[in-house]
């Protein structure tokens, strides 16, 4: 693996709430190499968005407890002062959010909001230049009539167009890393595919390293190089796309894969699902957090398994499951 652009080590993010300390992220580590697409997969509340936002200092507040270490090209991110983190936000690491309707300010034109991002980092760029650049960007992400659309307000665009504009805004300063937080969740299925193709193209053509945050393994299958599966604030499994899809090690991942609807298989009686609901982060079960929902649970599971390499043939893989790998293959069938 080449030099990492972005590194995160043992990141822990907790929030002080009335019910106690809510540990949203409990020790996540990963590296992102240039040009790589890393998918972070998990249900809502698994800590994937909090991880991403914490790297950019967006979760900082008086009741947030942030520990660990994260760096971008050697610059420490978690303790960087406001000015330093602002230089990285938007300029080196850009972010695209889930709902493009609410993520644009409704009272400003699209072009003005893109221009604002440019001018926040490039003081010498005039408003007219920023507008011209906005037109180029909108054109680059496939918005027809960009020259006109630059003067539209967010509500005048369709959902797909808005998300394209959001991506255009993220690209405004030619960042090295794009964090896409559920970029297709709020969109129609047909539009989802278009947006994913756009992200893929940007990754290929610009070498844009991407962190794709999603709950949808279908999205992952189309775009990711590597996958982190998160559950209740912890990574339960990580590996390459093929490893995760063809040889999943954690029963939670099996469940996620099992609940993908596939057109190439016979339709099951009922759509498969993982029984139960994710645990409350304020009241995690001792040991493996997935234990209460896991059909393969045994005595050892009352002890928290570490995120370790358990397959001799694949030293890069990690998972948190006590089951014997050979045993797993049998049970998965």
């Amino acid at each position: 693996m080449s030099e990492a652009l972005l590194s995160v080590r043992d990141l822990r993010v907790g929030f002080v709430t009335e019910g106690g300390l809510l540990q949203a992220v409990d020790g996540i580590s990963f590296d992102l190499a240039a040009g790589e697409v890393l998918a972070i997969v998990g249900e809502s509340g698994s800590g994937k968005s909090v991880t991403a936002q914490t790297m950019l200092g967006l979760t900082r507040s008086t009741n947030a407890r942030i520990e660990g270490w994260a760096s971008y090209r050697g610059t420490e991110l978690l303790e960087a002062d406001d000015a330093a983190i602002r230089d990285i936000r938007g300029e080196r690491i850009a972010m695209v959010f889930q709902d493009p309707m609410t993520s644009f300010n409704p009272v400003y034109r699209i072009g003005a909001q893109i221009g604002e991002a440019i001018r926040a980092h490039r003081r010498d760029v005039s408003k007219d230049e920023a507008r011209e650049r906005a037109v180029e960007l909108l054109d680059a992400v496939g918005i027809p009539g960009a020259e006109r659309r630059v003067d539209s307000y967010p509500h005048e665009l369709s959902g797909g167009m808005r998300q394209r504009a959001m991506i255009a805004m993220a690209l405004a300063l030619d960042p090295e890393v794009l964090i896409a937080d559920e970029p297709t969740t709020a969109l129609d299925v047909t539009v989802q595919a278009q947006i994913l193709r756009l992200l893929e193209r940007l990754n290929r053509e610009r070498g844009l390293a991407t962190i794709l945050i999603t709950h949808d393994l279908g999205v992952v299958a189309e775009t990711a190089d590597r996958v982190l599966v998160m559950y209740a604030g912890r990574v339960v499994e990580q590996g390459t796309l093929d490893e995760i899809f063809y040889d999943p090690q954690h029963p939670y991942t099996w469940g996620l894969l099992g609940s993908l609807t596939r057109l190439d298989r016979e339709r099951p009686e009922r759509l498969p699902q993982i029984e139960g609901t994710p645990p409350s982060l304020l009241d995690l079960p001792p040991g493996c957090s997935f234990r209460p929902r896991c059909p393969h649970e045994f005595e050892k599971c009352s002890e928290l398994p570490g995120l370790e390499a358990r397959l001799p043939e694949a030293p890069g893989r990690r998972d948190r499951c006590w089951l014997d790998p050979a045993d797993k293959r049998e049970r998965r069938q």
Partner: protein
């Protein structure tokens, strides 16, 4: 835009008609309001009452009386039943005092309401926020006559810092004008300062949780710019609405404050006319007030469409 204004003008005619008809009818059904009887005095002979009725047209059918009155209101020929003065002239005379009171108080409450609301929101949960919250709630819950009584007692009667009432024309003596208005301004503004600061505080706190504010931060904008361009800008839109409507209402006369401080404005005229059950001034003042309410409603809608591009003054807007 032109169609919108035309539609609003038609609407205004309808509003003024409805308001005047209601005032006229109410006046004619309340007990002891027969103007001829009241004008003739306590020891009136039936002949005197009858002659007054004939002279003033009180024996005409009601619709006709109504039409006559409306004609007089808009031609400036309206005469009050008591004192027999030119009503429209009195209203015009009252305008400087009423407008001075309203505009001055509005400037004060807008400034302090926004300042306190902003400080509260930026320190939400902190000591300053709590102190301002207590002040705001106190301002909101104290009745205006009570505040006025306090001020009149301590600032004018006991210490004689300010004159206890009356109005001096701005053109006659600007300093005197100011001295006479400071206490009424503050009295009127206190309620609104409390209200506006609470509204702005909650709008700003809501806005801070908006996705677009997170986007603005993620773009790398400075915190100052995030607050000013994204939080404050969006939070001020509803304030514009409130402000327009409140000013519109007060331009028609602040009855209680003008009465208490003897400002001799339209509000005080209304106060006196209500005591006398004197229909012509009540009618004219009500129409005068309704006019401003409709005009400011329209201005607010135009401002709203300008400030929030999602709002359109199109077919569906009324």
């Amino acid at each position: 835009m032109a169609r919108f204004v035309v539609r609003r003008l038609i609407g205004m005619v309808a509003v003024l008609f409805a308001v005047s008809a209601i005032v006229f009818l109410v006046f004619n059904v309340i007990p002891n309001s027969d103007p001829a009887q009241r004008m003739a005095g306590k020891a009136a002979t039936p002949r005197l009452v009858a002659s007054i009725e004939e002279e003033w047209g009180f024996d005409d059918p009601l619709p006709q009386q109504y039409l006559t009155m409306m004609k007089k209101v808009f031609s400036g020929e309206l005469i009050s039943y008591f004192g027999r003065e030119d009503v429209d002239e009195r209203i015009v005379e009252g305008i400087p005092a009423t407008f001075s009171l309203c505009i001055g108080a509005a400037a004060i409450w807008l400034f302090f309401g926004l300042l306190f609301g902003y400080l509260s929101a930026m320190n939400a949960g902190g000591k300053l926020d709590r102190a301002l919250t207590i002040l705001a709630v106190a301002g909101l819950s104290m009745p205006v006559p009570f505040i006025a009584a306090l001020f009149l007692n301590y600032l004018t009667y006991k210490t004689e810092i300010f004159p206890s009432g009356g109005y001096v024309e701005l053109t006659a003596d600007p300093l005197e004008w100011l001295e006479h208005l400071v206490v009424p301004w503050i009295t009127l503004a206190i309620l609104y300062v409390g209200f506006y600061s609470r509204v702005l505080r909650s709008n700003m706190l809501d806005a801070m949780d908006e996705d677009y504010v997170r986007t603005a931060r993620a773009k790398g904008l400075s915190e100052r710019r995030v607050i000013r361009r994204h939080v404050l800008r969006n939070s001020l839109v509803p304030i514009v609405t409130l402000f327009g409507l409140d000013v519109g209402v007060l331009l028609g006369g602040a009855i209680v404050i003008e009465g208490l401080f003897s400002l001799n404005g339209i509000g005080e005229y209304a106060y006196i006319s209500l005591q006398n059950v004197d229909l012509p001034p009540i009618m004219a003042i009500t129409l005068f007030g309704a006019f401003f309410i409709v005009v400011f409603n329209t201005l607010v809608d135009i401002a709203y469409a300008y400030l929030d591009p999602r709002v359109q003054l199109g077919e569906s807007a009324r």
